[in-house]
């Protein structure tokens, strides 16, 4: 049975990785999960300098999901390289670093410093572009094009992944743009901007008012978007959004994902990733599938005329 998948030039022993921001820098969960068993570890988003993030409360539970407004708190590139990466290097598992910046130059510098030190770099393009009035790269095609084009020149050894936001208008054509500009893969979906209010106090549930919705509530949206992107590009897709178990992971793969990322499920079940890997094996046995890559895009469908 082959579970190996490739994302760009990153080889993963199975298709299951963690989703950025839900697994810390790996060490936090190492007591609960054998990190060697994972396809890849994707760490909390890193910026050039450390960030404090948003004031609390930062999270709130909503039906079948949760909102978070962590505000990109992270230790910064220097501390990551010195204090966090060496720990992950003790494991035989590829490391993916999610990166974020205020402007194109930030991303370029992060990529220059990280290239070759980690198996893959995932661009978080949902952050505001400070030099262009704070408009997110995810919704500004020109800025996104410039960003990917420029970082592509800096990333010579690692695999370059662009993480897509569900707020992008026409996610399929955005993914085509990413592919044209040289991205090795796309990952989707990031969380969905959402809000909750405490009706007794009339206060917003989050200090930041708006947060990102994740968890099982968003899974059907993620599956739909992965399917749309799969129709549009040739590069591999990392599917994520509400994956709680192996069935969810397989659903994403049938829609077109080569690999999947597990996020919020880690909070509910700290061994969710390895449970999903086992569940995928069971599914393969049950359906006599010898190579996991066979199921990518394997949805059987037709549009009937009436």
């Amino acid at each position: 049975m082959n579970l190996t998948v490739k994302i760009g030039n990153m080889t993963m022993k199975n298709p299951v990785m963690t989703a950025s921001g839900t697994f810390g820098y790996g060490a936090e969960y190492s007591e609960f999960v054998d990190l060697n068993a994972l396809g890849a570890v994707v760490v909390k988003g890193i910026s050039l300098r450390p960030r404090e993030g948003n004031p609390p409360p930062r999270i709130v539970e909503t039906p079948c999901g949760m909102l978070n407004s962590i505000g990109l708190q992270n230790v910064g590139l220097e501390a990551f390289l010195k204090e966090k990466l060496p720990f992950l290097r003790r494991y035989d598992t590829p490391v993916v670093v999610n990166i974020l910046g205020d402007c194109v130059e930030d991303y370029e510098e992060l990529c220059t410093r990280l290239d070759g030190k980690v198996e893959a770099i995932e661009l978080n393009v949902s952050c505001p572009n400070v030099k262009k009035g704070g408009i997110s790269f995810a919704i500004d095609r020109e800025a996104l094009k410039e960003l990917i084009g420029k970082v592509r020149k800096k990333v010579k050894h690692s695999t370059l992944i662009v993480k897509l936001s569900p707020v992008s208008e026409d996610i399929a054509s955005i993914s085509v743009l990413c592919e044209k500009e040289g991205a090795d893969a796309v990952s989707l979906i990031n969380t969905i901007p959402a809000m909750a209010i405490d009706i007794e106090t009339r206060r917003p549930a989050l200090a930041n008012l708006i947060g990102g919705l994740s968890g099982p509530a968003i899974k059907p949206i993620g599956v739909r978007m992965v399917w749309q992107v799969y129709q549009a590009v040739k590069i591999p897709i990392i599917g994520m959004g509400g994956i709680m178990n192996a069935s969810d992971a397989i659903e994403y793969m049938l829609a077109g994902a080569t690999s999947v990322a597990v996020g919020t499920a880690n909070f509910v079940n700290p061994s969710a990733t390895v449970d999903i890997i086992e569940g995928i094996k069971d599914y393969m046995k049950r359906h006599s599938i010898s190579d996991i890559n066979e199921i990518t895009g394997g949805i059987i469908w037709e549009i009937k005329d009436h």
Partner: protein, 248 residues
């Protein structure tokens, strides 16, 4: 020994229409909890509610762990409906507890309302101290029989129905003015915690306070439960839930 385990519910005891004790037996060997540490319990096998809920260890003995819970929202309501024999998915003990080595007869412990859940095991550990226990009314003061073996128990209620009328912070102020106090351990609502912290700082008394925050992962990964401190954001689940007043 794993900090993720299943435990069987062996006793549920109601202490009021909203307050109950859950006593669980872990089905495997788990680390001994320290007073002030907490566990994450999964209230449901479904996705709504989705997240685990954090609860301070109330009492632990001979392979059982006990939690004192107030029925407030979706998660605690589901926990209150569990039947004896039910198996629960647990994580713990987690976080940093109270430093027991500085407990002395010159220590004062303060609990406001449900704060009793987090300091009770401290009081079982060391009884030769002063305990200030406050609540809105006498109906919300629990375990008074068990607490009678302490060196001194001072109760305060907002309506004066038990002990002095007033609040725990004023009671603590009085004790500090009258007695030699070298350390204070506290847990209560956010407002009480803040006031106790300010009071201890102004008297330069060593203090440890247990805080509460909404939590997701419980292991320091998600950065959801942070508390703002002069030294930056601290995670309640890992740097806390017990913080030294010096850190605040």
């Amino acid at each position: 020994m794993s900090r993720r385990f299943t435990a069987r519910l062996i006793e549920k005891r109601w202490l009021s229409s909203e307050h109950f004790l859950l006593r669980l037996v872990p089905e495997e060997k788990t680390p001994e909890p320290k007073p002030g540490q907490f566990y994450l319990l999964r209230p449901s096998d479904t996705y709504d509610p989705l997240l685990r809920r954090p609860f301070s260890i109330f009492r632990s003995s001979k392979g059982t762990i006990e939690f004192f819970i107030e029925k407030k929202g979706k998660g605690t309501t589901l926990l209150s409906e569990l039947q004896k024999g039910k198996r629960l998915d647990c994580m713990g003990p987690l976080g940093r507890g109270f430093p027991l080595n500085i407990l002395s007869q010159d220590s004062v412990v303060v609990a406001g309302g449900m704060g009793i859940a987090s300091v009770f095991s401290l009081l079982e550990h060391f009884k030769d101290l002063i305990f200030i226990y406050g609540a809105r009314t006498k109906e919300q003061l629990f375990f008074l029989d068990e607490l009678s073996s302490l060196k001194r128990l001072i109760t305060v209620t907002e309506d004066g129905s038990h002990g002095k009328r007033g609040n725990t912070v004023d009671a603590l102020k009085e004790v500090i003015e009258e007695e030699r106090v070298t350390s204070v351990f506290a847990c209560g609502p956010e407002g009480m915690n803040q006031s106790v912290s300010r009071l201890l700082k102004s008297h330069s008394i060593e203090g440890y306070i247990s805080f509460e925050e909404r939590m997701a992962c419980g292991v320091g990964a998600c950065l959801g439960c942070v508390k703002e401190t002069p030294q930056g954001m601290k995670r309640v689940c890992t740097e806390g839930p017990v913080f030294s007043v010096k850190e605040l």
